[in-house]
């Protein structure tokens, strides 16, 4: 019956997926506080996600700062407001553009990698082998990865923000003859606690979403190599969508709190 109404079928499938994802998240919280704790694997995942994403995040942040400043400069010059450049760039990068762009980059780098890795482990029976070895694969593979992504994303985003501001300062130094010291003085004057805190809290949720969806897609991938590719791909697509939804909620909540 539902098959005759593709929109209804898609909606049912979407909400079924959301239900399964929520159940998966519930299991994560349940297993998070039960023994044994897989510290070694958690640290390995922090290294894999954090250290190995650093160059990508750095390059992205630097180009973001450069481009944003180059694009904004002519408009600000026209209104004689170029002195606002450091505050405008730093606030928009720290509050919004930095977290969202870097989270999207990490969704591609980390989310797809988790989806493909767990998907291929499932297909090649490595997850079964782990269970037979007396290890809870959910704790070893899923809990460690979600936790590592949740903790690494804020750090990566802070680093990306800093590099973006350095990129912006470089443009101002070359084009506007503004010293780095003056630029950063103005940045720190402009930035407030209420800019940093919501952005940092938001980044934890972004990291959690990237880890959760990557693990969910990979852990539940269907058999076969096609399933692995699909898990990696849908992890990125679903996470990207979720990041925008979370961003909207975060902005809405911080607007209510800080006005």
């Amino acid at each position: 019956m539902v098959g005759n109404f593709p929109i209804a079928a898609n909606l049912i499938s979407f909400f079924t997926e959301i239900g399964a994802l929520s159940h998966f998240a519930g299991r994560f919280f349940k297993e998070l506080f039960s023994r044994p704790f897989e510290f070694r694997e958690f640290l390995r995942q922090c290294y894999q996600m954090g250290n190995k994403s650093l160059v990508l995040v750095g390059i992205t942040g630097f180009i973001l700062g450069l481009v944003f400043t180059l694009q904004s400069r002519p408009t600000l010059l026209e209104f004689g407001a170029v002195s606002w450049m450091p505050s405008m760039i730093s606030i928009s990068i720290v509050r919004e553009i930095g977290p969202v762009i870097i989270a999207l980059i990490c969704a591609g780098r980390i989310g797809s990698s988790i989806g493909a890795e767990l998907g291929s482990m499932k297909v090649t029976e490595q997850i079964d082998a782990m269970e037979v070895s007396g290890t809870n694969p959910f704790k070893f593979l899923v809990v460690t990865r979600i936790l590592a992504a949740t903790l690494m994303l804020p750090i990566l985003i802070l680093i990306g923000d800093l590099v973006a501001v350095i990129g912006s300062a470089l443009v101002e130094n070359v084009k506007g003859d503004v010293s780095f010291l003056l630029y950063f003085n103005q940045v720190f004057e402009a930035l407030e606690y209420s800019d940093l805190l919501p952005a940092t809290i938001k980044s934890f949720f972004f990291g959690f979403a990237i880890g959760l969806v990557g693990c969910f897609k990979g852990y539940n991938s269907s058999k076969g190599t096609a399933g692995v590719g699909k898990a990696a791909n849908s992890a990125v697509v679903f996470t990207s969508l979720l990041l925008f939804v979370l961003d909207f909620i975060a902005v809405f909540v911080s607007d209510v709190i800080y006005g």
């Binding site: 890795e117 291929s120 482990m121 090649t124 029976e125 490595q126 079964d128 082998a129 782990m130 269970e131 037979v132 070895s133 007396g134 290890t135 809870n136």
Partner: protein, 254 residues
């Protein structure tokens, strides 16, 4: 060794696995219907059947990776359906499992693959003892030089031998082999079969072997069970089944 001698060698021994009235379905699809089986101490029991006949499902039910719909499964005297997770994990330390595709953890070296079950089940073991056990397991399969290699750097046959070393490292009482020779060339397949026989002799293990390989079944089986039409259709030694007048049984040995 002659077939009947191999069979007699297991007579009078007590069962290590006992399955009674096992049923398992996936939705409408009935995979196992009233399946019964016993495996005795030191016995190599071969389970044959068509692809998709439920052999892997059976083995996964026995190891607790799948839950049967009904029936009882006793492994080493314990009913696995009623076991708690911790008890199940303790029982799994007594069981080795060689997966069809080897299932080596591809993000870990050979050493880490072998240390993995030890870290789980023997977490108080000191570093030297762990190292010795890893080396012993690798020497048993003739691959001591692969210690620091990644699984991707090994051939299919070598991966299978490393997987066997990993299955053996806890010196289990029972080993499950899921298609141990599938995808291997005849020479490597023969090496794996001989290795399985060596293991059985050295550690006095009982084995459940799922295979389509008639040569493997002929060399290794004390007894064969034919899984057909969702249940244990026929049972006997290799000679008994391969000379059976039942065309359905005969078809497997052509």
């Amino acid at each position: 060794m002659d077939d009947s001698v191999k069979y007699k060698a297991t007579l009078g021994k007590s069962p290590v696995i006992s399955i009674k009235g096992l049923n398992k379905s996936f939705g409408e699809n009935v995979v196992l219907n009233d399946f019964n089986m016993e495996i005795f101490e030191d016995e190599n029991l071969v389970l044959m059947g068509k692809s998709g006949s439920g052999k892997s499902v059976l083995i996964k039910c026995v190891i607790g990776l799948m839950e049967p719909d009904s029936g009882t499964i006793e492994v080493l005297g314990r009913d696995i359906i009623t076991l708690k997770q911790q008890e199940m994990d303790e029982l799994r330390a007594e069981i080795g499992f060689l997966f069809q595709g080897s299932a080596l953890y591809d993000s870990m070296t050979v050493r880490e693959n072998l240390e993995f079950p030890l870290r789980r089940h023997r977490n108080k073991m000191n570093g030297n003892k762990t190292k010795d056990l890893v080396m012993e397991a690798l020497e048993n399969v003739g691959l001591a030089h692969t210690l620091d290699l990644m699984p991707a750097e090994l051939s299919g046959g070598m991966q299978r031998r490393i997987a066997l070393a990993r299955a053996l490292i806890l010196k289990p009482k029972i080993i499950f082999y899921d298609e141990p020779t599938t995808g291997l060339d005849p020479i490597t397949a023969k090496e794996i079969i001989l290795l399985m026989l060596d293991v059985q002799k050295k550690y006095n293990t009982s084995s459940l072997i799922i295979t389509h390989d008639v040569d493997c079944a002929r060399v290794i089986a004390n007894r064969i069970i034919l899984l057909y039409e969702k249940t244990n259709y026929a049972e006997g030694t290799f000679t008994e089944l391969s000379t059976s007048s039942d065309p359905k049984v005969k078809a497997f040995f052509k």
